[in-house]
Symmetry: C2
């Protein structure tokens, strides 16, 4: 498949670097201010030079001499939407996706915004298109959460819960392991690059909540007899508490009882909730460090647990390229 | 999709009972000596009566008044092969599948025999057919092992390992928990119906080995530039040790070191090995009771762990019906 990669952050760059290994070719790359498009003079088999694009971004801060519009207008099979997550109208990512669908092409999203905040609009755009959308990379990085729920069929999944944010989990793991308080461990996480300078998206539970909203949308639409009438969720529907107020003492008290604290998100076809919760110390939900875990409650097959790396360029790119493979 | 279910054991009966919930209809059911075929007079929308078929099997030991040949010749979209696993030539299951492919229909297998022992022959039959095969249910019951490896693409999976036999795992878990020896716990497992009267298939590691052989075939064929030249595995290629000779003392010694013993199977594109191994007591591979876990080592996305119920009628039927859904 020919890919147009929109977004040249860690995920976009990893998709550019790994696409060739999966038998795909990148025909266009765009960041917020520039683009490069394969010139096509070499025939269909000539994509952009992945190493050159990544190097140019590192050295000059741009991916090419073209305009982002050139990438959106290029001749591709699948548009990969990997621009930063935005809330509310989820722009410009939402329009990148609908532009692809209007041209009867496919879109694969790593950007949570459109899937969490405008799921109904996306579904309507897909209904009017020969193209499809996939968004495995929006939930749990390398963990195949969305496709596993789809294969079991959402009507037979009663709930999905888990540890969906590696930054918050790292902080709680270190607080428990070292008996340190939140502020101290946050500073450590920022030094390691595990937490951002402004960590609020992660520590306030917003990132985990967006992922749960996406799962609730998948469950709701999948189970509905009439998808057009299915309940649509957005971030506003989520009941969210983060980890800023978890004191070190809570973890010590929990440990005396063989428990610990994790930021757990849960989605059903009706509710979305994110909050710190007590879990058994050696139990399945008590994953460590930046690991994520997704727990799927099914009607006939009991509980499935899937754990792995929830974030990272190559990990998320792996999910994107898995989706491209499922579109072939 | 219209299903012909060949095999009326726990898995076949569960597929018959659950197919309707997934929007499919069962048009034929066969066991080793009988069959029932929907009469078609009601038009395409009339399948067999699931409850009647299951009740008849329970009361009379047969599924209908027809001959198994009637089911194989019926008008179906997908043949579900759920007859008991046989080794070597993997008959009669192998021929049930090739018969479907010769008729350009699909086949979904719960029967490990053909996939473990005649993978190359199956692949050649698929190449000559408009039909496809899927076999999620042959490895790990409800755990989506095969489809997850497929989505990551076998060329990017370096190894798959895990606890793949619930009977052996239950026995080792109970030996460790209660300090009892193998013979004592085996008797308990047989009383509970977790182990069969002749438990050798499970406790000698043969069942786990067949699943690992299947995974090795998936890895080998998926990674090969030329599938026709890919290495094909059979049970004979597997290096297998079971749990009969694990003494209670080994588990006590392991516990002193924070470890326990589990029957671990591992497959790469080059080797298949099943043996009891020491694992950390609270670690990921130390699942309890009849649970299974599949651990997938990937090139770019680290390690994925998927745990859940590895066996059971509804659990395995769930995997079969997931495969049918992926064929639509």
């Amino acid at each position: 498949m020919r890919l147009a990669v929109i977004g040249a952050g860690a995920v976009g760059r990893s998709v550019v670097e790994l696409a060739g290994e999966h038998g795909h070719e990148v025909v266009a790359v765009a960041d917020s201010a520039s683009a490069t498009v394969a010139d096509g003079t070499g025939g269909r088999g000539v994509g952009v030079d992945p190493d050159a694009v990544v190097a140019r971004k590192a050295e000059r801060g741009i991916v090419g001499d073209g305009d982002p519009e050139d990438a959106l207008a290029a001749d591709y099979d699948v548009l990969v939407e990997a621009t930063p997550t935005t809330l509310g109208d989820a722009e410009p990512g939402f329009s990148h996706v609908t532009r692809a669908l209007e041209r009867d092409r496919h879109a694969v999203l790593a950007n949570k915004g459109p899937v969490a905040e405008r799921f109904g609009d996306l579904r309507r755009a897909v209904a009017d298109s020969a193209g499809e959308i996939r968004f495995e990379a929006t939930v749990g990085g390398a963990i195949p959460a969305v496709s596993t729920v789809e294969d079991i069929e959402p009507g037979h999944v009663t709930a999905v819960r888990g540890v969906l944010n590696g930054t918050a989990n790292f902080i709680l793991t270190r607080m428990a392991a070292e008996g340190l308080d939140y502020e101290h461990v946050l500073a450590e996480a920022q030094d390691l690059g595990v937490a951002e300078a402004d960590p609020s998206f992660d520590v306030d539970g917003t990132d985990a909540a967006l992922k749960c909203v996406i799962l609730a949308n998948v469950l709701s639409f999948g189970a509905a007899d009439d998808p057009a009438a299915a309940r649509e969720f957005t971030l506003d529907d989520a009941d969210v508490s983060g980890i800023r107020d978890v004191p070190g003492s809570a973890l010590r008290l929990a440990a005396e009882d063989g428990r610990t604290v994790r930021l757990i998100g849960e989605a059903t076809g009706e509710t979305v909730r994110v909050a710190p919760r007590l879990v058994p110390e050696n139990g399945t939900l008590a994953v460590s460090g930046t690991q994520n875990i997704v727990q799927i409650e099914t009607e006939h097959a009991g509980r499935l647990n899937i754990s792995g790396r929830g974030a990272g360029g190559p990990e998320t790119a792996s999910a994107v390229l898995g989706d491209v493979g499922r579109l072939e």
